[in-house]
Structures are given as C-alpha cells and as structure tokens.
C-alpha cells in the first residue's frame, strides 16, 4: 500500500465487508429462529475474493485451534466448496458452531491485515458457510480415521471441550466414550446458547457426525456421582480421562432479595428456555415471562438472556452492567444485535438490592451509579460507586449473568487431582495434563468461565497429549 492510500477513506471495495443478511429486528424479537440467514454462494465468492492470502497469516495465529484460514478461503474464492470443507474439517471439529459463536473480532478477524485500513475479512461468516456445507454434504468429505488402537478414553462432558477432544481422539483410532450429566448432549451449546444464535439441530448434527466416527455418548451419567474417575479407570478400563465438565455453578451477587421469586441465574433462565424448551407450547417447564426483565452482566450470556426475554414476550428488556460498553466482554455482534432489538443498556450501574412484594415476587432492582477509575488486573477500568446515586428500576424478572464458578462434583470425588483455590482443576494450558496420571482437563473447569473456542482449543491440545502419552 502506498502512503497515499493510507490517508484516503476506505472506498475501495476490498475494504468493505460483505454484509450478512439477517432477520429484521422487529420481526426476530418475537421468534426464536436464527438471526443471520448465512451467506449465499454469491456473497461467499465476493467475501472470499477480498482475502489478501498473506504469506504469514496473522489470522491463523489468532485462532485457538489454528484453523488454516487463508487455505479454506482460497478454496472458496475458487468455488471449490468441497475442498474448503475438507481443509476446515481437518483443523476444526465444529466449524458451523465456531462460525456462529467465536469472538472473531478478538481473534482471527481482529488480526486481519485488511482491518488496518478497512474491514477485516468476515472469517466467521465464511466458516459458518463452509461448516454448514460440510454438514449437508458429509458424504463427500474424506475424514481420515486411523484403525482402532485398542485404547479407551473417557470424555467427561459433551460441551465444546469434550466434543473436540472426542473428535480428535476418535480420528486417531481411540475408543471414545463421552459421559454427559444431562439428558441431551451438547453442554453449554444446548442448555446455554439460545436457538436464535445457535440452532440446536446444528449441535445435534455435529454430535451425530462424531457418533459416525464411533464415539459413544452416554447421557444421564454424572461423573463424580454415577461413578468416580478412579472407578472409571480402575473398573471400567479407561486408559485416560479428559475432563471438560465446564463451569457449572452460577455465581450470585449476595445482595438482599436475591432469593425473591423471579430472580434467576442466567443458567437457570436459559436452561428453562433452551434445554427444557420452555419457549415451546408442549414443554412442561414453566418460566416467568416477565413484562420488564433486568439482566445483570455484560458478557455473551447476559446478551443471550436479555434477548431471550424479549422473545419470551417482555415489553422491556434491560441490561445492567457496572462498567461501560467498551468494557463489555460480549462479542461485538451480540451487543450490536441487542441494540438493534431495542434492549436498554443501563451502563455504569450496579444492583445493590432486589425488592419484592409481600408474596415474594420481584418488583424492582435498586441500583447505584458507577464511575470508572484506574485499570485493574484485567486491564479494564475499575468501577467505583457514585455516592448518593441510588435509584430503582421497576421489573418483574431479574437474571443474574455475572459468571460461573467451577462445578465441585469432580474435584470433590477424584483422588490426587490438584485444584486451585478457586476450585478449578489445575491443568497445563499447553497440554491439558493434570496432577493425576492419565487424567487431562480443559475448558471452563480449568480456566473458569470463558469461550466456546478456548474450550475447543484446550480439548484439542489435551487430545494431542493423550495421543502422545498413550501411543
């Protein structure tokens, strides 16, 4: 690029991202169908043609699973969908999920060279297209599976970490069994992320494709309770165990009124709506359809909950977050969608009490205003309370989406496994090895609540260690 080009605004077509066609906000806030429709072939061709095909691609370095991004985009630009799918499936077990839920702006897209002068390549949108193509044309793909090596691996949890590890190990010839505590596999992909962001049939089809690689899925089996890891290894003959049990213990704010009727953890609210299908007529699971719903938090889960509330019929869905929008950990696309859908953002605002009526039903949240001070350990500016700034937000449902702590069931019941003071399992970030021989861990149970793709990266790395240690 010449110096001259740098000074000009990005009028060049190459710098403009192909827009994603989407359901209109006023229409979609009353249904649970997916918001983006996905690129058509023509849009894929245009977007793929923008890629600079860098020799040293920064995007790949930004991907926790190291997807060969320029390679699959090149195939797309040349209209070779099958080849694109082949490349993508070899490095990423769950592309149609990643294309939808990864925080691309902080990873691949955030590092894209085009982004310096214009808009980054829409890697996520392209990945989604290829992932969907691969699901619909799985018979055309050549997934190499090595002959059985005679070793048995147990995977605890069927969320993103577990599914990825299972896929990698099955391809390597291991006999893999996934144990899932709930009645449906998928972990957070099923109980947490709503239909309008990640349709459940996609998760099901990804799990079916693992089953085609002869991965066994055992539902309703709570490792730590139904059997301990030690029993699975000693009595059931598993040679290795990968723990990807997630951060399944919601945090509350410990403020007065938090046990009032209509106060939900985001996990409970989303589980009722997603896993238990409370949004459907034939479900027996009730959910309080608040008219005015306050969601506390600024992450993806908070956005999911606030947007679910609208779809369940709320007149007003309000986000309360103690920092500013810049500090919100949610994906930019989710924040953007939430704004489009008319969700109120009450920023720099923190609840101090939940007020209930005499029967115990929520009637308002009492909040204080906050101001940002110096950056804290996370690099985000630390919020302080503004004295005398108390005010009330009337509402009938409050959803607490301030994160999760690690689930205690496995740390409590597994001998010789080292656990941090926060209750997470200690495992190497590089290889997933824990203090216990042949036991590996990854995802939220190690890091605390994080993202789908980081969990997948951890699952992939742990699988590599298992291959190294057992073969």
């Amino acid at each position: 690029m010449s110096d001259n080009a740098e000074k000009k605004p990005p009028v060049n077509e190459r710098f403009i991202k192909t827009p994603m066609p989407e359901q209109m906000p006023e229409e979609r806030i009353r249904n649970f169908a997916e918001v983006p429709y996905g690129y058509a072939a023509q849009e894929v061709a245009r977007e793929a043609a923008r890629c600079l095909q860098c020799k040293n691609p920064a995007c790949v370095a930004g991907c926790p699973v190291g997807v060969k991004i320029p390679e699959f985009i090149k195939c797309l630009a040349e209209n070779r969908f099958r080849d694109a799918a082949q490349v993508l499936k070899e490095c990423n077990t769950l592309p149609s999920i990643c294309g939808r839920v990864c925080p691309q702006e902080d990873q691949c897209e955030g590092l894209c060279i085009l982004g310096r002068k214009g808009e980054a390549i829409a890697v996520g949108n392209l990945e989604r297209f290829v992932g969907d193509w691969a699901r619909e044309h799985s018979d055309q793909l050549d997934i190499k599976v090595k002959p059985k090596n005679g070793k048995k691996v147990c995977v605890v949890g069927s969320g993103p970490a577990g599914l990825t590890a299972a896929g990698e190990l099955a391809k390597e010839g291991f006999d893999v069994t996934i144990f899932e505590a709930l009645h449906e596999p998928g972990g957070v992909l099923v109980y947490g992320i709503p239909e309008f962001r990640l349709p459940k049939e996609i998760v099901q089809s990804e799990i079916e494709s693992l089953q085609q690689l002869s991965v066994k899925v055992v539902k309703n089996f709570i490792v730590g309770k139904s059997a301990t890891i030690d029993e699975l290894m000693d009595e059931e003959g598993f040679d290795a165990v990968f723990v990807g049990s997630g951060a399944g213990l919601p945090s509350f704010m410990q403020i007065p009124g938090e046990n009032s009727i209509g106060v939900y953890s985001a996990n409970e609210y989303l589980t009722r709506s997603n896993l238990m299908r409370a949004y459907k007529e034939d479900s027996r699971t009730p959910i309080i359809n608040g008219r005015r719903v306050v969601t506390v938090g600024g992450g993806n889960v908070a956005m999911d909950a606030a947007r679910t509330a609208l779809r369940l019929g709320a007149d007003k869905s309000i986000i309360v977050y103690r920092r500013g929008e810049e500090e919100m950990p949610a994906r930019k696309a989710e924040i953007h969608h939430a704004h489009e859908e008319g969700i109120d953002f009450n920023l720099l605002c923190n609840p101090i009490e939940i007020l209930a009526d005499e029967k115990g039903f929520v009637k308002a949240v009492k909040c204080v205003r906050m101001e940002l001070g110096e950056p804290d350990q996370s690099g985000r500016r630390k919020p302080h309370v503004v004295a005398g700034s108390e005010f009330e937000i009337p509402c009938d449902v409050v959803i607490i989406a301030i994160g999760n702590r690690p689930n205690p069931l496995i740390p409590e019941t597994t001998q010789d496994i080292e656990v941090s003071k926060h209750g997470t399992i200690k495992a190497s970030e590089e290889d997933g090895r824990t203090s216990k021989k042949n036991v590996y861990a990854g995802g939220d149970i190690v890091t605390g609540a994080a993202t789908v793709i980081l969990a997948m990266g951890a699952g992939k790395r742990a699988a590599r260690s298992i291959i190294e240690d057992l073969l």
Binding site: A181, L182, H183, Y191, K219, N220, F221, I222, K225, S226, A227, G248, L249, P250, F252, Q254, E258, N259, S260, I261, G262, Y264, S265, N267, E268, T271, R272, M276, D282, S283, R284, T285, P286, I288, K359, G360, N407, P408, L409
Partner: protein, 279 residues
C-alpha cells in the same frame, strides 16, 4: 436401565416404582436423590431414593402425582421405561451411632425417610419414628417403618388412623414425657418441616431437614434450588439436600416453592383435559 420393573399404587395419588438401575443402586446412600423424566416433554423431577437393592440392581422411588410431570410419570406402566434417569445425586445423610435418633416423616416425605431410618438402625441407633398424613388413605410405608423402627408413632390430621393431629403434636407429647433424643431428621412438606423443626431445634436436638426446592438439573448448574442456610446461599442439589434445620430460612424457601403455582395448575388442568379427549 430405566425399565419399570414393578409399579404399585400406595394411595390415591401416590405410586411406588421399582426401576432397573444397577449403577445407581450400587452407589446410592441414604439421603441421595435421582433426577427422572417420564418422557421427552416432561420436566426433570428430583426424587429421593426410597429403597434400593445393590444385588438385584434396582432402586425404588415413591412420588405423588401433583403436577403435569408427576402425573405423566404415574401413567407409565410396568415394563415401560422412563425416558431419563440420573443419579445418585446430593450428599448422603451423615449416619453414625448418635444414640437415640428421632425420624419424623410427613405425607410422601415418609418415602425418603425410610432409607435413613434403616441406615440409622443399622448403625446401632435406638430409632423412634413418627409418621403422619392428612388421612388414613394417604399414609404410606407404615409396615416397613414398623419393621425398621424401635418405636413407631402415627398421626393423621383427621384422626382416621393413629392419633388425631400432626406429627409435631406427637413430638410435643414425647417431650412432655421427658424423652430425650440425640439426633433428628425431618422430611415432609415444607410447612410441616418448618413447624416441626422449630420444636425439635427448640428442644436442643441436632436436627436435619431434607429440602425439596424447585430444581432443574440437580448437578449445581442452574442454582434454582438455592436456599439460605445460616445466612449463606447454598444449592440443595450439591450442598444438600439435607441441611442443619437450625439455620434454614424457611420463609424464603416456602415463598420460592410457590414460584410456579399458577403455571402448574394450568399445565395440569390442560393435561387432564387432553387426556380426556384422548380417551
């Protein structure tokens, strides 16, 4: 796994299912529960294990058909399968030889009390048991309790069987007689547990109550079953279901139990209505 080996109706609305579940039978301890779903539309129901045989690989659950999902469960027959069954969940009852143990059960809560009575007896305790129900027809497990308890007392609200009155009335009498107990477990409807434990705790007896809050997953994931114990938020599924009754915030728990009363009634009415048309 999950097949109903035996179905019995214990009273008008109360059923006992023996379910093939070798894994759970092998590991379960007194006080633990399972999650069960009758079919694909049903809710996940937490039910305390009422009995089990490690050797024969079955567990028993006893439940009352109150809402739509328990009604659906009650409609299943011998030989059929429940759609989902997971467990054993929760922390087991702490069992040791306390000396004189008192077990108090009300209504369908008598069922989860049974394995605790058995375990306390096996541990060498002198076990007195008080069971109660609204009327004779709703009283369950009298014979079983008789066999496992050193002394059994029975009350019905309407006096149709045993002594007229509440289980708490019998406790008051025992107290008046100067009887002493070293340990007490109370299981039943929340208002009964509140009323009874106030008395036992008041009499200086270490008392545990097995709580039955609204629960979805049973593994700690949703936090719906949270209760306040000694001012702290606890999850009944992973921290309980039994808690020291001296610290339980009963009023908050009683309110939360009413969260979905309206929905439940509607769902049940609708369900019964649909059943009517099917027939």
């Amino acid at each position: 796994m999950t097949q109903i080996l035996k179905k019995e109706q214990l009273s008008e609305q109360v059923y006992r299912f023996r379910i093939d579940a070798p894994h759970i039978a092998k590991r379960r301890k007194a006080g633990q529960f399972i999650m069960v779903r009758a079919n694909n539309h049903s809710e996940r129901l937490p039910l305390t294990i009422a009995n089990a045989s490690k050797d024969d690989g079955w567990i028993e659950i006893i439940f009352q058909t109150i809402g739509a999902s328990t009604t659906e469960l009650g409609l299943l027959n011998e030989g059929e399968h429940v759609s989902d069954l997971a467990g054993p969940l929760g922390k087991p009852t702490h069992i040791e030889n306390f000396g004189r143990a008192l077990c108090i059960g009300g209504g369908v809560g008598i069922a989860p009390l049974y394995p605790i009575v058995t375990a306390l007896k096996e541990a060498g305790n002198d076990v007195s048991t008080i069971i109660g129900a609204r009327n004779k027809g709703l009283l369950i497990l009298e014979q079983e309790m008789q066999a496992q308890s050193h002394k059994l007392f029975v009350a019905t609200d309407d006096g149709s069987y045993g002594q007229k009155g509440f289980v708490s009335d019998i406790f008051k009498q025992l107290l008046a007689e100067g009887q002493k107990f070293d340990f007490c477990v109370v299981i039943g409807p929340a208002p009964m547990m509140k009323a009874t434990t106030v008395l036992t705790v008041g009499a200086g007896i270490k008392t545990f109550a097995s709580l039955n809050p609204i629960m979805i997953d049973g593994t700690g994931m949703c936090g719906g079953c949270r209760v306040t114990v000694f001012g702290e938020t606890k999850f009944a599924c992973v921290d309980g279901p039994e808690f020291d009754a001296a610290g339980i915030d009963w009023d908050s728990m009683l309110k939360r139990l009413g969260s979905y009363r309206e929905f439940e009634q509607k769902a049940k009415d609708k369900h019964i209505c649909q059943l009517g048309t099917e027939q």
